[in-house]
């Protein structure tokens, strides 16, 4: 069994475990069943932050070590991070409508900063598409991968910096008021999503490697060999004369 299948099967198992704990956890008195959206929303947001952190590290490593594997990791992690950011935003809006009475609340700094973080990393992917040269693409996107990370701590800490509607930092607080069963459901889903992230990363980096090989092959086929304009002398004709 190859690495992708092992990771894929592990992801299915841990998602099942996460779903079980999520369905068994007690409901919030006011939010009712909508509480369960948190078991997708919170892990998605955490995974988005993790993805962009991996991109930051891989970008620094590309600039210092110049090994294409780091560029592949950075790009793959951004693609997955953008997906998780979109998932966090969507689940947040789905939860917001019944609980806050609106899909989008301008008083929520976390929502706003996360949406802008999403657009910066969409810009990262757009930048990569507009540069054909692999080394130039890797270097420029590495710099952007470092600069863009400024928005990640800002998004996380926005609930402290700006007066906002969003719930403050809860799980990471030393005096966390969160119920034990809810915390277990939340952490099991964070774990499950992390395995899903690793599975996606494994597949995406393999695809990126395949794409690079394909690019190299087509470049080799398209390239005109040196001296192609000079044809070999037709010696048989010379002999006939």
């Amino acid at each position: 069994m190859n690495r992708h299948r092992i990771l894929g099967l592990s992801a299915l198992v841990v998602i099942a475990i996460g779903l079980y704990f999520g369905s068994q956890a007690p409901l919030d008195q006011l939010q009712g069943e909508y509480t369960r959206i948190m078991y997708v929303h919170v892990p998605s947001a955490w995974l988005a932050y993790l993805s962009f952190l991996v991109t930051l590290v891989a970008s620094i490593l590309w600039l210092t070590k110049r090994r294409l594997v780091f560029d592949r990791v950075a790009e793959s992690s951004v693609s997955i991070g953008v997906f998780f950011t979109a998932l966090a935003l969507m689940t947040g809006m789905i939860w917001g409508y019944p609980v806050w009475g609106t899909f989008w609340d301008w008083g929520d700094a976390r929502m706003m900063t996360t949406a802008l973080m999403f657009f910066v990393y969409v810009g990262y992917l757009a930048l990569r598409r507009s540069i054909p040269d692999p080394a130039m693409r890797a270097t420029r996107s590495a710099v952007l991968g470092i600069v863009a990370f400024f928005l990640v701590p800002l998004s996380y800490l926005s609930v402290l910096i700006v007066r906002t509607l969003h719930q403050g930092i809860t799980v990471a607080r030393p005096d966390s008021p969160i119920d034990g069963e809810i915390l277990l459901a939340l952490l099991s889903n964070v774990g499950a999503f992390t395995v899903v992230y690793l599975t996606f990363m494994s597949l995406k980096t393999a695809i990126a490697r395949g794409e690079e090989e394909l690019e190299e092959q087509s470049a080799a086929v398209d390239a005109t060999p040196a001296g192609a304009a000079i044809t070999a002398p037709n010696l048989e004709k010379v002999r006939d004369v």
């Binding site: 910066v120 930048l127 600069v147 928005l151």
Partner: protein, 226 residues
């Protein structure tokens, strides 16, 4: 014989950028009037509600500074060609010094931009006066430095690309969020007479972080632009 020092090189680049601006007058003749037009159009779009216009005025000023200020920082990416960049390399110019020089020129031009549009905003929107206005001058300075840093970095990242004109604003607008949050939160804190420490610290941290990243990555961006 040795060439000019790091700061000497940065000074020459900044002076060159200012001279180009002096000849073209792009910021003074085009970008500043464009920003002023935007400030005039916004009240027409939201309706003639004087208390509302007064309350949104400071926010509109920051948004116009951000959106039109990025045009100020992109102006040199359009004039710089591959030949210019190669000449800089042949002359042995330090990429970090070039970055500092460009940021300095953009910073000065952004200060002019803010210096014209801030009084205009006060005249047009008549915002509620706040105590501690010298703090706002510090915020204007920090906003100009931060925007100059982000714009110069984005120009370097997108230089020479066909999609530069659309891609660079897409990168700069969301990246300027910490500056916008810091500036608007400082104004809000001043108007409510609460602590301004957190937003000012945010602005300072972002400016310092961007300056460090910009100087450290200048060499890589210079390599990737050839």
């Amino acid at each position: 014989m040795t060439g000019p020092s790091f700061w000497g090189q940065a000074y020459e680049i900044g002076r060159k950028d200012m001279r180009v601006e002096g000849r073209s007058g792009e910021v003074l003749n085009i970008t500043i009037p464009f920003g002023a037009v935007a400030l005039l159009l916004i009240p027409l779009a939201i309706g003639i509600d004087r208390p509302l216009i007064a309350s949104v005025g400071p926010g509109m000023f920051w948004v116009v500074t951000l959106l039109f200020g990025m045009l100020v920082t992109f102006r040199h990416s359009a004039t710089e060609t591959v030949a210019n960049r190669e000449m800089m390399v042949l002359l042995g110019m330090d990429p970090a010094a070039q970055f500092v020089g460009r940021v300095s020129a953009s910073f000065l031009l952004l200060l002019v931009f803010e210096g014209v549009l801030a009084p205009l905003t006060i005249v047009l929107y008549n915002p509620d006066p706040v105590s501690g206005w010298p703090v706002l001058l510090v915020v204007l300075l920090l906003m100009a430095i931060g925007l100059a840093l982000i714009g110069t970095l984005a120009s370097g990242i997108t230089s020479g690309l066909r999609s530069r004109n659309t891609l660079a604003p897409l990168l700069v607008a969301p990246l300027s969020l910490p500056l916008l949050v810091g500036a608007s939160q400082t104004y809000e804190a001043l108007s409510q007479e609460s602590s301004i420490l957190t937003p000012i610290l945010l602005l300072v941290a972002v400016v310092l972080g961007l300056a460090v990243v910009g100087v450290l990555t200048a060499r890589f961006l210079e390599e990737a632009s050839r």
